[in-house]
């Protein structure tokens, strides 16, 4: 048991390290209320812009709020909403990809041309445009990100389904009278999972980045909810006097995004899957 584990660690070092990182982050966001030393939204001007101390491990921001607690709670928002975006766009992408790939014909044409239309715009521009129309707010940003992201899942899944469809075992299943639903469930979906795992992890990083970017621009998470992008924005005014206010949330975003990307890269190597 231990021997096999050590083999795993040696052969898949990156995957193991990244997974551990992710587990830590998940732990932090799940237990933020117990880990945080202070209320992240409590304003106290008497303690504003303080350096690290026992009460405030990373000091305080311009409203006297505890930076460390805000970072912890920020993990909740970032990871939580990124997961929401991930699951929603995955579901939409999976359904549309399966339909397009399996049905083919005009259904495929219609769905894929629409997807092309969405992909023709740079992601950030499209998100900005949609948020501009719908108005600023977390809900709108999440919807806009889902709208932009499902396309990638749909395209990849459609590609996989197209190649699977020609396989002999699918034809065999058809001949033996399996229903479409059964073929999907038994033969197609299990085969699209590995590529999904790869894009999924990469896109999680993407979602976190974009969510933070939107909050940085003041369009996403609204105060007083702590969020890393919004924290960078607030710290920006203090870049000369208290640059650390920007550095902490910036480091967190970097850490999370790098973890997801490395994990995605190694998974794709492992499964031999090409990315978009």
């Amino acid at each position: 048991m231990i021997a096999s584990l050590s083999v795993l660690v040696k052969s898949q070092k990156v995957i193991v390290i990244c997974s551990l990182m992710l587990c830590t982050l998940l732990f932090i966001s799940a237990f933020a209320p117990w880990l945080a030393p202070n209320d992240p939204t409590l304003v106290n001007f008497a303690h504003k812009l303080q350096g690290p101390s026992l009460n405030y491990p990373l000091g305080t921001d311009h409203l006297g709020r505890c930076t460390f607690s805000r970072i912890l709670f920020g993990a909740r928002v970032s990871l939580g909403f990124a997961t929401l975006i991930f699951i929603s766009s995955l579901t939409i992408g999976l359904i549309i990809g399966l339909i397009a790939g399996y049905k083919g014909g005009w259904v495929d044409q219609l769905l894929m041309r629409f997807a092309d239309g969405v992909m023709a715009f740079p992601d950030l521009l499209l998100v900005l445009g949609l948020v501009g129309i719908w108005g600023a707010g977390l809900k709108q940003v999440v919807l806009a990100l889902i709208f932009v992201q499902w396309v990638y899942y749909a395209r990849v899944i459609r590609g996989v389904v197209l190649s699977l469809k020609e396989q002999n075992y699918i034809t065999a299943a058809k001949i033996s009278g399996s229903s479409q639903w059964k073929i999907m469930k038994k033969h197609i979906i299990p085969n699209v999972l590995p590529p999904l795992a790869v894009i999924g992890t990469l896109e999680m990083g993407w979602a976190i980045m974009h969510l933070s970017s939107m909050s940085f621009l003041g369009l996403g998470v609204q105060p007083p909810i702590p969020e890393w992008g919004a924290m960078i924005h607030e710290g920006k005014s203090y870049i000369r006097t208290d640059p650390l206010l920007m550095v902490y949330p910036g480091l967190m975003i970097m850490l999370v995004v790098v973890t997801f990307n490395l994990l995605g890269e190694s998974l794709s190597e492992r499964f031999g899957i090409k990315r978009r």
């Binding site: 304003v43 001007f45 006297g64 105060p223 005014s237």
Partner: protein
């Protein structure tokens, strides 16, 4: 799969693109260098120059238009008949004196003689009338100024006497003439062929101490001293305005010595200002209050129509701490809607509300808003006490204070949602009465007090709708109408005291703090003074060591 032929094509196209982009890049960097060389040769020409920065381009230098033209720049070129000085004193400027008829309808101005426009043409009653007439051609646009819609006729009495007649008396006329726009004077050569300046001017020719020398949109503008100026000649030869939109960049440019002066309201972060000040390497100053930050509560909203709720909200936040912390000690806590350095405002009693959480909770309980077991937000008839506060997202002080209020009111069981919007949206929603609470400010010097009470009484500006559930609303409105028509100084004073007093008492307009302007400048700069008129330029008398 690509065929070999296609592959070659792709390769060719990529190479072409690469070459093209290199060439284009080369061009831009060369031209940038060229510009830099130009700029540096220019600066070496004159050392008697003050460089300062402004967040936006100065815009079109036309005295009769509004945004995006910047007021400080308009005021450098164009001058008013009357100028606004400390404490609201109105002093002669282009008019040496004026007479107002007994009935308050006729205004006669004796113009200053020997004043020349920067192109050498002379300033006289004819050109004053011409400017007035083009302003009156766009009456609708300028009707926010109370006296403009009332002007019946304009008249040249003789070369240096100008007269206009109003349809009804309106006492703030003289004060409104001190505004930066639109009643300032463009020279003859500046008028376009159709004489309508609302679409643009030929040349920016004014009587002011400065002349626009060069203007590169969104980069910089330079102003040269008007050597023929009728008043005291400025001691600096040139003023250069660099457009720097970002506050942090502005501070860095100042630290590097690229700027001699940073000046204005909210132009840099106050903590950065304090930090620069504490280094001791620079001079700094802070102005008198120029306006008041106010919270406007919409009494049209059911929960805020109850005076007990409004009072509870007053008691429920620590104004002193919020102002001190939110502005790092720059601004003072305000107990009056208008600070006492404004005309007619000195007799108004302060409405002091001490921070008292218990009292706030008591008031809310009395008003029927109870805290249900196990909840954080008060409820009445199953409805939570949830209020939205709208603020201008570009103003960091408003945002800081809004967040502080959110945290404070949460302690008394009030949920405050804060909504940062852009200024045009804020104004629009305020005017349409689509808000619970609005973070706003009075117009300040030289507009108040008459402009403030005027918009309080006028429909479509948001205030009159916001105070609609005041029990004494009708009396207030009739007092406001009376004060503008009053020709008796004592009567006006009494009316203002009563109007401002009861606006404060009813508690829908909550004064927060007095806005001040800041200035920080290099050691070589001296004689910096803030203009009494918030919108004017501060360069009168300023000098710099060469």
């Amino acid at each position: 799969m690509l065929h070999t032929k296609n592959k070659k094509l792709v390769l060719l196209i990529s190479v072409m693109l690469l070459i093209l982009s290199t060439v284009l890049l080369g061009c831009t960097s060369e031209s940038v260098e060229q510009e830099e060389a130009d700029a540096s040769s220019e600066t070496s020409e004159s050392t008697n120059m003050i460089t300062f920065s402004w967040p936006r381009d100065i815009g079109e230098m036309n005295p009769h238009v509004y945004n995006p033209s910047q007021m400080f720049a308009q005021s450098m070129i164009y001058e008013p008949l009357v100028s606004y000085q400390d404490g609201g004193e109105l002093e002669p400027h282009l008019a040496e004196s004026w007479d107002i008829s007994e009935d308050g309808k006729e205004y006669v101005f004796n113009l200053r003689q020997g004043v020349k426009f920067s192109d050498g043409s002379s300033f006289n009653a004819g050109i004053v009338k011409k400017n007035f007439d083009t302003i009156l051609d766009n009456r609708e646009r300028h009707s926010w100024l109370g006296f403009v819609p009332l002007i019946d006729q304009t008249e040249v009495v003789d070369e240096y006497t100008f007269k206009f007649t109003l349809t009804e008396p309106y006492y703030p006329t003289i004060q409104e003439l001190a505004n930066v726009r639109p009643v300032r004077f463009l020279g003859e050569a500046g008028f376009p062929e159709n004489e309508d300046t609302s679409k643009g001017v030929e040349q920016p020719i004014g009587t002011g101490p400065w002349v626009l020398e060069e203007h590169k949109v969104d980069q910089y503008a330079t102003f040269k001293r008007n050597e023929n100026y009728w008043g005291e000649l400025p001691s600096v030869e040139r003023i250069k305005v660099n457009v720097i939109p970002d506050a942090e960049t502005r501070v860095l440019a100042f630290e590097k010595g690229e700027l001699d002066l940073i000046y204005g309201e909210g132009v840099i972060n106050i903590d950065a200002f304090n930090q620069l000040k504490s280094t001791g390497s620079y001079e700094s100053s802070i102005s008198e209050p120029v306006a008041t930050r106010i919270l406007v509560m919409n009494t049209n909203r059911e929960m805020l129509s109850d005076i007990q709720v409004r009072q509870a909200l007053h008691y429920g936040f620590n104004k002193e701490a919020i102002v001190e912390g939110g502005t790092s000690g720059l601004e003072e806590e305000a107990d009056r809607i208008l600070s006492t350095n404004f005309p007619y405002a000195s007799n108004v009693d302060a409405t002091t509300v001490d921070y008292d959480v218990n009292k706030a909770e008591q008031l809310l309980d009395d008003a029927g808003w109870k805290l249900p077991e196990g909840k954080d937000i008060r409820e009445k008839d199953g409805k939570p006490l949830e209020i939205e506060l709208m603020y201008n997202s570009a103003e960091s002080i408003q945002k800081t204070m809004a967040e502080a209020l959110q945290s404070e009111w949460a302690k008394i069981g009030v949920k405050l949602n804060i909504d940062g919007v852009e200024l045009p949206t804020q104004v629009e929603r305020f005017n349409k009465n689509e808000f619970d609470m609005n973070f706003y400010s009075t117009s300040g010097a030289p507009y108040d007090p008459h402009y403030f009470v005027n918009i309080v009484a006028t429909e479509g500006f948001g205030f009159v709708e916001a105070i609609s559930s005041y029990p004494n609303k009708d009396e207030l409105l009739s007092q406001i109408a009376a004060v503008q028509q009053s020709t008796d100084e004592n009567e006006r004073q009494e009316l203002y005291t009563s109007i401002l007093g009861s606006l404060q008492e009813q508690g829908a307009i909550v004064p927060i703090s007095y806005i001040k302007q800041i200035a920080i400048y290099q050691k070589g700069v001296s004689n910096f003074t803030f203009p009494a008129n918030r919108d004017e330029h501060p360069f009168t008398g300023i000098s710099i060591e060469e």
